[in-house]
């Protein structure tokens, strides 16, 4: 435990974004993720906390990593997992989201993990189901479990995050990852800087966000972490920047910029999957302070902490104080 916390935490039904979490809840989830990670070294990696519960992965947008991460997290808590992705679902046959939720509800699902290309769908689902809902990424809005695993990974690297600096580089405008990570970092007392093409910096950004227009100046700010966002290649078609090569030269971690990062001992992060030669040069991936693989591993622990903490309305009984002894 890095900061002193209450040993008990009240629970919520859903995790929809980082904004609605208190700082204590954020710290509780990070502290809870740590012992879950220790489980991975045991011979039996499963614990019975969610035995008999059903987790539905409801993905309206393609994803392999996040879905697999949620699936492993749920299975290590002994839950049963069902995956439903758009390609196989009846949504393509014209069923509405509400109908899909109702169908799933009649199957008595306890947790729903929802990803959708439109912002607000997980919140809409949460309103219409007693199941606990976890937002696994919605439009440009939020990706709260990504922010949890990222700040957890940062904590592992440096301990207390208060006063530390993170520089987020890339498509700030369209990035739900950036929105959630910067909010979490700010709540945990970090300084947040962003560097992006001027066309990809949103107008309505929060005041604490320091904007850089030059990579050299951004690195001279001496961030502890350089967080490279994934470039959504399909965005190029919308002419936010001229070419991939130019993006790399101006906004990518080139060999020269990487040299500065490694000389200063900065940590490098990326939510994956990496576009080699676009956001970063290959050498970064073998750098000792590149945390990309840790981020993937920590994703499971962070998601286990969330599943452990949330409480579906289906199972809420009259509250009894800690009867076990």
């Amino acid at each position: 435990m890095i900061q002193e916390l209450d040993p008990r935490m009240s629970r919520r039904k859903d995790l929809l974004d980082i904004e609605s979490l208190t700082r204590d809840e954020l710290l509780f989830l990070l502290d809870t993720a740590r012992p879950f990670k220790e489980l991975f070294t045991r011979s039996v990696k499963k614990v019975p906390a969610l035995r008999g519960k059903t987790v539905l992965n409801l993905f309206f947008e393609p994803s392999t990593r996040t879905r697999a991460s949620f699936e492993i997290a749920a299975k290590r808590l002994s839950a049963d997992v069902t995956n439903l992705s758009i390609a196989q679902s009846s949504v393509v046959k014209g069923e509405s989201i509400l109908d899909t939720i109702e169908t799933m509800q009649s199957m008595k699902v306890d947790y729903m993990v929802v990803r959708h290309s439109a912002s607000g769908v997980p919140a809409f689902v949460a309103k219409h189901t007693p199941a606990a809902v976890i937002n696994a990424g919605d439009g440009h809005h939020a990706h709260p479990t990504q922010a949890l695993l990222d700040t957890f990974t940062m904590q592992e690297a440096v301990g207390d995050l208060r006063g530390r600096k993170v520089l987020i580089v890339g498509d700030i405008l369209h990035s739900r990852v950036c929105r959630s990570v910067s909010t979490a970092a700010h709540k945990l007392g970090m300084e947040v800087g962003v560097f992006a093409p001027a066309t990809l910096i949103p107008n309505g950004r929060p005041d604490y966000m320091k904007v850089f227009t030059d990579f050299g100046a951004a690195l001279a700010w001496q961030p502890d972490f350089v967080y490279l966002l994934r470039l959504q290649l399909e965005r190029q078609a919308a002419h936010f920047f001229p070419s991939l090569r130019e993006y790399h030269n101006i906004f990518g971690l080139t060999r020269e910029r990487f040299q500065i990062c490694s000389d200063q001992g900065m940590y490098i992060m990326h939510p994956g999957p990496v576009n080699r030669g676009v956001e970063l040069v290959d050498e970064v991936l073998t750098y000792a302070r590149c945390l990309i693989n840790q981020q993937v591993e920590n994703g499971i622990a962070a998601r286990m902490a969330v599943l452990y903490w949330l409480q579906p309305a289906t199972t809420v009984l009259p509250m009894e104080e800690d009867a076990i002894a």
């Binding site: 935490m9 009240s10 502290d31 012992p35 499963k46 906390a49 409480q311 509250m319 076990i324 002894a325």
Partner: protein, 182 residues
């Protein structure tokens, strides 16, 4: 100093005596076995640390570990607030080990059931025994202590408070009668 509604069941001196006797019994029952003490968070862990220290002065290497049973509880669904997980620390081979499991108070037996299940997930021990400072009755599962400090008849609603120097600033066991007596 205790508030009026509290009855002192064991003093600091009583606790020391009980632990010394418990240590002697464990030592006697296992003259040659490789032993491991495992305490259940939080006060069971302190109990097991103390007995472990006493045992270590009598014999060669005794292993020590702690268990956090939060993820093995049978009532997680119903809890409006959930406990912070401290994590278990079992730094020895459970396979084939002779384990003495420690908890401060034995009540319904559900905590011990959870602890047994968790230990089994680390391996197959040769034997598990149970040591508790207080047995207050009201068992809901067929579980009994092998080493016992003190058995106390209690009302189901009564509260037993075990205090240890390490976290509470003093040693002692106190009883407060609950609202509803059976």
């Amino acid at each position: 100093m205790t508030p009026d509604d509290q009855v002192t069941l064991l003093s600091a001196g009583d606790i020391t005596n009980k632990l010394e006797r418990m240590t002697a019994q464990i030592h006697e029952a296992h003259p040659d076995d490789p032993l491991a003490c495992v305490g259940i968070h939080t006060r069971g862990a302190i109990l097991s640390q103390r007995v472990h220290a006493l045992l270590s002065s009598k014999r060669d290497k005794v292993e020590h570990g702690t268990l956090d049973i939060a993820l093995y509880r049978d009532d997680l669904d119903n809890l409006g607030t959930i406990p912070m997980i401290k994590g278990s620390d079992i730094p020895f081979q459970v396979e084939g080990a002779h384990i003495v499991l420690f908890d401060d108070v034995l009540f319904t037996g559900r905590t011990i059931r959870a602890a047994l299940d968790e230990l089994m997930d680390y391996g197959r021990p040769a034997k598990i025994e149970l040591a508790v400072l207080i047995d207050r009755g009201h068992r809901e599962l067929p579980i009994a202590p092998d080493y016992l400090g003190q058995r106390i008849e209690t009302a189901r609603a009564a509260h037993i408070r075990v205090c240890f120097q390490e976290i509470d600033g003093r040693d002692g066991v106190f009883l407060r009668e609950g609202e509803s007596l059976p």
